[in-house]
């Protein structure tokens, strides 16, 4: 079990990680979700012991490992860049942690062979990493990380530099690789879709703070806060300020709908994900008038950016819906699927969790 207890990281006057506490169970798959500079890599370096926290403690299986150098911990890490030892053959690359660990030759040969088989790089063991493709190079790095029985495996956006097809392929394979192991896996990504595909637990990071932490599907449907919802939405979540009084809730005169039952009167920030805003009317949807800014049509999907009440809105829908930039248009927001956040940002009601979505 990996525990971060009020871990803090400051570099000079900048705070990279604000006091953070997280607990990861053995055999769990954990995702760090956040944009670039959200602190994912720093947090991983702190977990691995590559960096020493300014304050706070790292505990592993009931032992305080805060000051323990990375060499003395049993961790593995795979980076976004394909990091391999260029002067060594593929075999030696994978064997390197075992050699340093003093494993005997026959055992090294057996384990590297098995791992290469699993990673489908058996035919390239005599070659140098630079002679292989990006996908294969990342497989070497992955094999090296998995060949020793680490207690903690850190994957820092390992698929980000791969092309689309390879990424899909490795996404399918990844969870199988960890299947039986009793190690803690931490996977950093910038893409909410990737987090949802892997499931497990997700920590949504924003500017060095954990905005939300819990089972991935759960925090997607019921984010604890507006920030959490913003981190876990791609394209960005639409937000608008609204006031509830009586049966109705309204965000200005043009956007009014029936408030859900049990919602107290007062001010709210409404969050509605892009795929709940469509160019066509659906049952119970509310019209939103605006001016089209850009319409990006990508084969089977339309992403429409438009200017409406409260600022920028994004709509994501199936099918091709051509709009001309600058034109007036009406889009429809399915308010039964929206989030109601209190003025301080905490979630009051989640349409996605309670509604039909």
């Amino acid at each position: 079990m990996l525990e971060l207890r009020n871990i803090t990281m400051r570099v000079g006057t900048e705070t990279h990680i604000h006091p953070t506490s997280l607990v990861f169970k053995p055999g769990s798959f954990n995702i760090l979700l956040g944009t670039t500079l959200a602190g994912k890599t720093t947090l991983m370096q702190l977990m691995a012991g590559l960096e020493k926290p300014t304050a706070g403690e790292v505990w592993f299986n009931g032992v305080n490992v805060t000051g323990v150098p990375v060499q003395k911990r049993n961790v593995s890490m795979v980076y976004q860049q394909f990091i391999n030892y260029p002067n060594m053959s593929v075999f030696d690359n994978i064997a390197s942690p075992l050699r340093v660990g003093g494993v005997d030759r026959a055992e090294i040969k057996r384990r590297v062979g098995a791992m290469a088989e699993l990673m489908r790089i058996s035919a390239m063991l005599d070659r140098r990493p630079a002679e292989l493709s990006g996908g294969q190079q990342q497989r070497i790095a992955m094999a090296r990380a998995l060949v020793k029985d680490s207690d903690l495996i850190l994957l820092d956006e390992p698929l980000a530099n791969l092309d689309f097809k390879l990424r899909e392929e490795m996404r399918d394979e990844l969870p199988k690789l960890f299947g039986e192991r009793q190690c803690v896996v931490v996977y950093a990504t910038t893409e909410p879709t990737e987090a949802l595909l892997f499931g497990g637990q997700t920590a949504a990071l924003h500017q060095g703070r954990v905005a939300d932490f819990g089972p991935t599907g759960e925090i997607y449907r019921r984010p604890a806060s507006l920030t959490g919802a913003q981190v876990f939405s791609e394209p960005p979540i639409n937000t608008v300020k609204a006031v509830k009084s009586g049966h109705m809730i309204s965000a200005g005169s043009s956007l009014t709908w029936v408030a859900p039952e049990g919602l107290a009167d007062g001010d709210y920030t409404i969050g509605i994900r892009a795929h709940h805003v469509t160019p066509f009317e659906t049952a119970g949807s509310v019209p939103v008038d605006g001016t089209i800014k850009i319409a990006e049509l990508s084969g089977s999907e339309s992403m429409i950016h438009f200017d409406a009440i409260g600022g920028d809105w994004v709509s994501l829908s199936h099918g091709v819906h051509p709009f001309v930039a600058g034109a007036r248009a009406t889009l429809y927001a399915d308010m039964s699927a929206c989030f109601y956040f209190a003025p301080d940002g905490t979630l009051v009601r989640s349409g996605e969790a309670e509604g039909r979505h």
Partner: protein
């Protein structure tokens, strides 16, 4: 256009090769022929000049001395520059950029500025006229150059490589020797090449800091010219031989150099 495309490089190369050709043909001529007539090829071909150099210790010891201090200097410069360049490429510390720049400014002063202080200092501590004296003096220029070249190469290696090695369990020294140095081998080759070349061609300090025991070939050449009149054939032969070590070194690092010019910031 087709014809011009080979013509231009050919003319250029001929132009570059002409002085070297002239030096080499001169080395196979007698002094009388050199002074007496204008000839494109040696009329009376002779190896006498080379025989003199390879049999007379005052001549061949010049090469031996030069090679000794150049080798000491190259090894010393690269060994000192490696950790320094690593620090500049991997750590941020107070005044790092200024220190880096200051290192480079050492190269901006002419060697003559340092000749007197070195001469006096080395005489005082008793290493005047030793190979070490010249090797040490040349490190003043070569270490900054080597640091500069190596820093470029090291910064081209992602920091994550270091981290991966630590995660695999390597200690810093074993990572540095087993993984990092092989990774930047090209950079070390380029740095060593520049140190070698600078030290090999530098005359002023080498001449000032030696008398007999460690006298470099360049000093022998200038001295011979002044004492025994015009021995042009002999000097040409010595000059030809002086080019050879450089040519050999270039041959060995040629692949690295090409890679090096692209990768590092030379």
């Amino acid at each position: 256009m087709r014809r011009v495309s080979w013509l231009v490089p050919t003319v250029y190369i001929l132009f570059l090769m002409l002085p070297i050709y002239w030096l080499v043909t001169m080395s196979f001529k007698t002094t009388n022929e050199i002074l007496g007539s204008f000839t494109l090829f040696p009329q009376s071909f002779t190896l006498e000049n080379y025989r003199v150099i390879f049999t007379d210790p005052t001549w061949y010891m010049g090469y031996v001395n030069s090679l000794i201090y150049v080798t000491i200097n190259t090894v010393l410069s690269v060994c000192v520059a490696l950790p320094a360049a690593y620090a500049f490429s991997r750590y941020r510390f107070l005044g790092d950029k200024h220190l880096f720049f200051w290192l480079l400014t050492n190269r901006m002063a002419p060697a003559a500025v340092f000749a007197l202080p070195f001469f006096q200092l080395y005489s005082a501590v008793g290493i005047f006229d030793t190979h070490l004296a010249v090797a040490l003096a040349h490190t003043l220029f070569n270490i900054p150059l080597a640091v500069w070249i190596l820093e470029g190469f090291m910064s081209g290696v992602p920091k994550q490589l270091d981290e991966t090695a630590y995660i695999d369990g390597y200690s810093f020294p074993s990572f540095f020797v087993k993984i990092f140095i092989p990774t930047i081998a090209a950079g070390i080759g380029v740095a060593a090449f520049f140190c070698f070349m600078f030290s090999w061609v530098e005359l002023l300090l080498a001449k000032t800091l030696t008398a007999v025991a460690a006298k470099p070939i360049a000093a022998t050449m200038t001295k011979t010219a002044s004492s025994s009149g015009y021995e042009l054939g002999l000097l040409a032969a010595a000059g030809t031989l002086t080019i050879i070590p450089g040519a050999i070194v270039i041959y060995f690092v040629r692949n690295y150099i090409a890679k090096g010019f692209a990768l590092g910031r030379v």
